[in-house]
């Protein structure tokens, strides 16, 4: 059976035909224009309009934004990039400071709030810092004699002294070292011998923190 196209149907697809797009009924439509002068005229109009619009588009200048636009945008891009980087750095600083503060608060407050007798941590490598400084006491702070003997200038590889707060803490699998500054008086309170004249001075120390956030040990850096 041959599909018969009406003028109304033809009118609904005439633009598809004129624009050269895919049209399922193209064969029937072309048959229709052979017998319908009105639709033939409509198709000629649409085709002429399509060609005229294509020609207008080709002649329409300029076709791209001038280079000045790109230049300004690249300047803006660099400004924005610097702004973002600055914000990120600022965030990192703030987060680092907050994290250090939290670590300091949690670790040291536990430690300071629960002082324990010196004999509780008297393993050979971690002598009680409350032992007398003897004749070799430095002016401000005396680390444990064992540590002092092995490494008179406490360094990165020196041993950590256990903290009372970690006594009941579970063993750790991951540890982190955070460097802090504390008043020498705070160390004195937990048993580190500090001379009376230097208790107000700041002491740099490394705190060993487990993955659970509990401070496990301390070593004096300076």
């Amino acid at each position: 059976m041959v599909f018969a196209m009406t003028c109304e149907m033809f009118n609904s697809i005439v633009d598809d035909l004129a624009r050269g797009g895919f049209c399922e009924e193209e064969a029937e439509a072309l048959d229709h224009v052979k017998i319908c002068p009105g639709c033939a005229q409509r198709l000629a109009e649409a085709q002429t309009l399509t060609l005229a619009l294509q020609r207008a588009a080709e002649a329409w200048e300029p076709k791209e934004a001038p280079p000045e636009v790109e230049r300004l945008l690249l300047i803006r891009f660099r400004q924005q990039r610097n702004l973002v980087r600055w914000h990120r750095r600022k965030q990192h600083w703030i987060m680092g400071a907050v994290a250090a503060g939290i670590v300091l608060m949690v670790g040291l407050s536990f430690w300071l709030a629960r002082p324990v007798p010196a004999h509780r941590y008297s393993s050979p490598a971690m002598e009680s810092p409350r032992q007398p400084a003897k004749q070799s006491a430095p002016p401000s702070l005396v680390p444990s004699p064992a540590v002092e003997a092995e490494n008179p200038q406490p360094a990165e590889d020196s041993e950590f002294l256990p903290l009372p707060s970690a006594e009941d803490a579970p063993p750790v699998t991951e540890e982190q070292v955070v460097r802090i500054s504390v008043p020498a008086s705070a160390l004195q309170e937990i048993g580190f011998p500090v001379s009376a004249s230097t208790t107000s001075e700041e002491v740099t120390a490394d705190i060993l923190i487990g993955e659970d956030g509990i401070a496990r040990g301390i070593r004096i850096v300076q």
């Binding site: 005229q41 000629a44 005229a52 588009a57 329409w60 300029p62």
Partner: protein, 196 residues
């Protein structure tokens, strides 16, 4: 001309968000022409087209996170910003003009264009008149002419860019072309009427 390597939009955007200037330049070169020409065809004003292009990429620089690849392509996203800004420019220029003002327009009936008009359209000199006629169309019809006829986008591409159905593009284009022919006929007749 700087060498630009190919890359998917997502890759380029990710690189751009990490501060890669070349990635931004590649996105710009990929889409600025289409956006600029659309704005130019809509406004007929190169300065406005520049402004629109600049605004589109400023928005991308300032808020790249606004683009969500799950909601559509980067091209459609940028084009959407460009379209909104173009319409704002048109409103600013001519006062508030309703988007769909074509209802009051006399559309062209099938097969009514005069032979003289068709002859005139076939001539190269008719380009200026054609531009004037395009520019006089209500924006909602002008944009489908700009995309489908001047930029030769498919219905599907235009539908994605204008965030509407393919059927809507098809019917809107049909009406737009009818309006355009009517306007051309009027423009073609106008000098003769004035002269006579």
């Amino acid at each position: 001309m700087r060498p630009y390597t190919a890359g998917s939009d997502d890759d380029l955007l990710r690189r751009m968000q990490n501060g890669d200037e070349e990635a931004f330049a590649m996105i710009y070169h990929r889409y600025q022409g289409g956006i600029y020409r659309f704005a130019l065809h809509m406004t007929g004003n190169p300065a406005m087209a520049e402004e629109v292009t600049q605004e589109v990429f400023m928005a991308l620089i300032g808020q790249p996170d606004r683009f969500d690849s799950l909601k559509g392509s980067l091209q459609a996203f940028l084009f959407g910003i460009g379209r909104n800004h173009t319409l704002r420019c048109l409103e600013r220029e001519r006062g508030l003009m309703p988007l769909d003002a074509g209802g009051e327009w006399q559309t062209h009936a099938t097969g009514e264009a005069s032979l003289e008009l068709l002859d005139d359209l076939a001539r190269r000199e008719s380009v200026a008149r054609l531009r004037e006629a395009v520019k006089s169309l209500p924006p909602i019809y002008r944009e489908v002419i700009a995309l489908c006829d001047l930029e030769e986008k498919s219905y599907a591409e235009a539908a994605q860019m204008l965030a509407c159905a393919v059927g809507t593009i098809r019917s809107r284009l049909h009406r737009a072309r009818g309006l355009l022919l009517a306007k051309l006929e009027a423009l073609y007749r106008a000098p003769a009427n004035q002269g006579g």
